[in-house]
């Protein structure tokens, strides 16, 4: 049985349909990230599950039971907030024990459970500190412990890293992933950062315009986006509007601005104007014009190179004016290419992904 199930969840504010018929399920021990830009409905979805927002339609099931009429604290859901929302005037121990104290549990039981929880998140030495005296990682663990001590079925994460700098986010992300694997709680993590969404997730749910547009393992969503907008949301993408054609050997192929593309994908269902996704990291670039011309390559001029340290992003302009992004892999032996140089871009047929437009 799914730990969390959304059935046709909708939320309407006046005329705006902020959440549009979202159905999904999260399995026990799974970490699902919800990726979307602001306004995609991801936060409304999270807040509906938590109980801060009353949905206009649909249902939220926790372990098979509808929780829509349950108060916020009786849904079996723990929440880790943006900036963690630790109580600044209370010690770590008091923060973690707050939910138990509210529940009027006997004092010795509170103490035992808090101690055990602090031990699990390795914060025992910091039990008497105030949140302001902790590092970002420690604060995160307090927030997780404060949620877990109530033994929720699911922990929701509301963009907890969104105000942090890139380095810190990356280490907190790894720490959270380890913690979740070790303590095996079920989690839903909302973010607008595609790297974060893919790095953390067992499965990514992509939201757009209030709808769930795709859900799958990070590689599936990245490599096989259901929609060109999803392809762009998940990383840099060449989206080529092609025409279907037939090659001399009778095999189906695609044409983009006069260049021939071959693909391993089935072209039968691609329609009259298929869109091709070609990720920049699959495009190889070498100096000089193509010779001889062949499918899955094109000649052009390097119009700009953006240096990223571990890689460089090149923009190649083909004679017709179309542009193609390519990652130039860094390496000491990498030929130095300067803007204005004639280059040849090529890619394997497996990298040519036909997606719905």
């Amino acid at each position: 049985m799914a730990e969390l199930e959304l059935v046709g969840l909708s939320k309407r504010y006046g005329r705006d349909l902020v959440l549009d018929d979202v159905s999904l399920s999260v399995q026990e021990g799974e970490l699902v990230t919800v990726l979307g830009q602001s306004g995609s409905g991801k936060t409304t979805m999270l807040r509906s599950i938590a109980g801060f927002v009353t949905p206009s339609g649909g249902d939220v099931l926790v372990h098979g039971r509808s929780v829509l009429n349950a108060p916020i604290n009786q849904r079996g859901i723990g929440i880790v907030f943006q900036n963690y929302a630790l109580f600044p005037h209370l010690s770590v121990r008091q923060n973690v024990g707050y939910g138990l104290r509210v529940r009027r549990l006997p004092r010795h039981e509170i103490r035992e459970r808090v101690d055990r929880e602090l031990d699990r998140v390795m914060l025992t030495p910091y039990a008497d500190r105030k949140p302001g005296q902790l590092s970002g990682g420690q604060q995160q663990r307090v927030a997780v412990a404060r949620a877990l001590v109530l033994r929720p079925r699911i922990v929701l994460f509301d963009e907890p890293f969104s105000n942090l700098d890139a380095m810190l986010r990356e280490s907190l992300r790894r720490e959270l992933r380890d913690l979740q694997k070790r303590l095996r709680f079920t989690a839903m993590f909302v973010t607008h950062d595609q790297r974060e969404a893919m790095a953390l997730a067992d499965r990514v749910a992509v939201m757009r315009g209030g709808r769930l547009v795709q859900m799958g393992a990070p590689t599936d969503v990245y490599e096989r986006p259901a929609h060109r907008a999803i392809a762009e949301l998940l990383g840099r993408a060449n989206l080529l509007d092609c025409e279907p054609a037939t090659g001399e050997d009778g095999r189906a192929l695609l044409r983009w601005r006069g260049h021939t593309l071959r693909t391993d994908d089935d072209l039968a269902g691609a329609g009259a104007d298929p869109c091709v996704l070609l990720r920049p990291e699959y495009v190889a670039v070498r100096p000089g014009a193509p010779d001889p011309p062949a499918p899955n390559q094109l000649g052009g001029v390097l119009s700009s190179v953006e240096y990223h340290g571990s890689s460089r992003l090149a923009v190649i302009t083909e004679p017709g004016g179309g542009t193609l992004l390519a990652d130039l892999r860094a390496g000491p032996a990498d030929p130095y290419l300067a803007p204005g140089d004639p280059v040849t871009a090529s890619w394997p047929a497996a990298a040519v992904r036909v997606i719905g437009s």
């Binding site: 929440i79 630790l86 005037h89 939910g99 404060r146 509301d158």
Partner: protein, 276 residues
């Protein structure tokens, strides 16, 4: 380049500006306090000789003591009223999505925008019309109205700075609204509340126009007493009283500012403020 120039200018000019400013603000106080020690029976600066006789005289004079007592009681009562009215107002106005909150806040701020002499004149006429015959309460209420804005402002600012997620976090842990206020929100704004209270107290304690117009010699508060002795016979007692007044105000100000000065202001790592 510009930055270095700026920091050079800052390090050279800033101390000068600060010194001049402090000197400008403190000079009258220095004159006042120094005069309180003069041996001459009139105000003289620089002081002629040194004596504590004026302080002794003031502290042993029952009229001065009564005046100080009046001021203390009136200030305490008016701040009490201001707190009872102002704190709930601030709590409501600081909430998101309260209708007319900006207009209501403005309404509360009006007393500090209207020249106080006009406000007091209006009150005088009003009290006369209503035949209010308990001048102490008249003063207390007038001062409460004048000090409430300071209290509401400081408390509202503190509440607005609190992360709204604190409330939701407590809610998700099962706390009731009342518990959230008592255990989570109020403890985090207590310091600001007390600095607002001290500010209001100093203002009420020092206020001259309100008690002078509304009661005059009937309820002589310290400022009223100082005012009348300056008007009738100027001797260094006034300077001595004023020095004591400055001392008390400074003490209250320092006490209420102490925590705020030490409070860390960085939020860079996402740590909630305070706590330390």
């Amino acid at each position: 380049m510009t930055r270095r120039l700026l920091s050079w200018a800052e390090s050279a000019v800033l101390p000068v500006v600060v010194t001049v400013l402090v000197a400008f603000l403190a000079a009258p106080l220095v004159v006042l306090v120094a005069t309180a020690f003069t041996q001459t029976p009139y105000l003289s600066f620089p002081p002629d000789g040194f004596t504590l006789r004026w302080f002794e005289g003031v502290l042993s004079d029952p009229t001065w003591r009564a005046a100080a007592w009046n001021s203390l009681i009136i200030a305490a009562m008016s701040v009490g009223v201001a707190a009872v009215v102002g704190a709930p107002a601030a709590i409501v106005l600081a909430r998101r999505g309260v209708r007319f909150a900006p207009s209501l806040t403005l309404l509360i701020m009006i007393p500090i925008m209207v020249p106080s002499i006009m406000y007091v004149l209006g009150l005088m006429l009003g009290y006369n019309e209503l035949d209010v015959s308990v001048p102490t309460w008249g003063i207390v209420l007038a001062l409460a109205v004048l000090t409430t804005p300071y209290l509401v402002r400081t408390l509202m600012a503190a509440l607005e700075q609190l992360d709204p997620a604190l409330e939701e976090a407590a809610l998700s842990l099962g706390a009731s609204r009342l518990r959230i206020w008592v255990e989570i929100l109020l403890p985090n704004v207590a310091k600001s509340f007390f600095s607002g209270v001290s500010l209001a107290f100093i203002l009420a304690f020092d206020e001259l126009v309100v008690p002078l117009f509304l009661a005059g010699p009937d309820v002589p508060t310290l400022p009223v007493r100082i005012y009348s002795s300056v008007a009738y016979n100027v001797d260094p007692s006034v300077a001595a009283v004023s020095s004591l007044l400055v001392l008390v105000s400074a003490l209250v100000a320092v006490l209420s500012a102490r925590d705020n000065l030490r409070k860390p202001t960085t939020r860079k790592d996402g740590a909630p403020d305070g706590g330390a």
